[in-house]
Symmetry: C2
Subunit: 135 residues, 2 copies
DNA sequence: CCGTATCCGGAGGGATACTG
DNA sequence: CAGTATCCCTCCGGATACGG
């Protein structure tokens, strides 16, 4: 699979690979919420907030595919479906919390740097930079 | 700012925020490479491989804006520009390595789950699922 | 209640050409 | 060498409507 056995510090390609998995708009939020125990579809939908049913379905399917969550169907009427983190999903959650801690710890510093940068950009060197990137 | 003061375990919004910063296609790769010491523009371009100069510029600008890398210009001819991780960038790199370690440790398990899922999808329940999500 | 199918706008990102 | 500007196309993701 690899064209050559390149071997950078933390095996860059693998990191990028998992980041593509988890770096989308909703996966992490869903995993975090599932960290509080199994949830039903619409329950999850309400808690996450702002996600469309389409995106929730796709996100859950992706997580299920990668063995991070399980999907349990109860063939009742009305139907009931539970989603739950697997062991793999739990371990991912822990790792993601590490990133979360970093984010919380350094959030202010990042925001400050951002303001500084934006201030200089729209300043005196004539190149009217318009970066109003409100994350 | 927030419509309501929701407050999930690891402050979900902040995690998502930083993930939007780092979860794009190239940021992590650039940060990892910069972890090996300061690099020049085209040097970085070669090492990363597959990135366009447009994207490298945008990625570096973004990282610079957030205070993760510094940009040093030497007004020589031909011009020379060095990019280097800041302290903040280094600490991010460490955190990302945590995720990287997880990715490496669980890569096989994920790939296995993926194959299993794909096998069942194109199989016997008739609903031709076509999710070839190749990261 | 739990999805799937379709439509569609907009952001992401590659290729290329030009500048200092 | 180190960028910037433009074009263009793909895919993400929201809205809506329908099926089991």
């Amino acid at each position: 699979m690899s064209p050559s056995h390149i071997h950078v510090p933390a095996d860059c390609r693998t990191v990028t690979e998992i980041l593509s998995r988890v770096g989308d708009k909703w996966s992490v939020q869903v995993v975090v919420q599932l960290g509080g125990g199994p949830k039903r579809f619409n329950e999850l939908r309400r808690i996450v907030g702002g996600i469309s049913q389409r995106m929730l379905t796709l996100t859950l399917r992706g997580l299920e595919r990668d063995g991070l969550v399980t999907r349990t169907v109860y063939p009742t009427i009305p139907p009931r479906v539970d989603y739950q983190l697997t062991g793999l999903g739990c371990s991912l959650l822990k790792t993601v919390r590490g990133l979360g801690d970093w984010a919380i710890a350094n959030r202010d510093e990042i925001l400050a740097a951002r303001r500084r940068f934006d201030a200089e950009s729209g300043d005196d060197h004539g190149a009217g930079q318009k970066q109003s990137n409100a994350a």
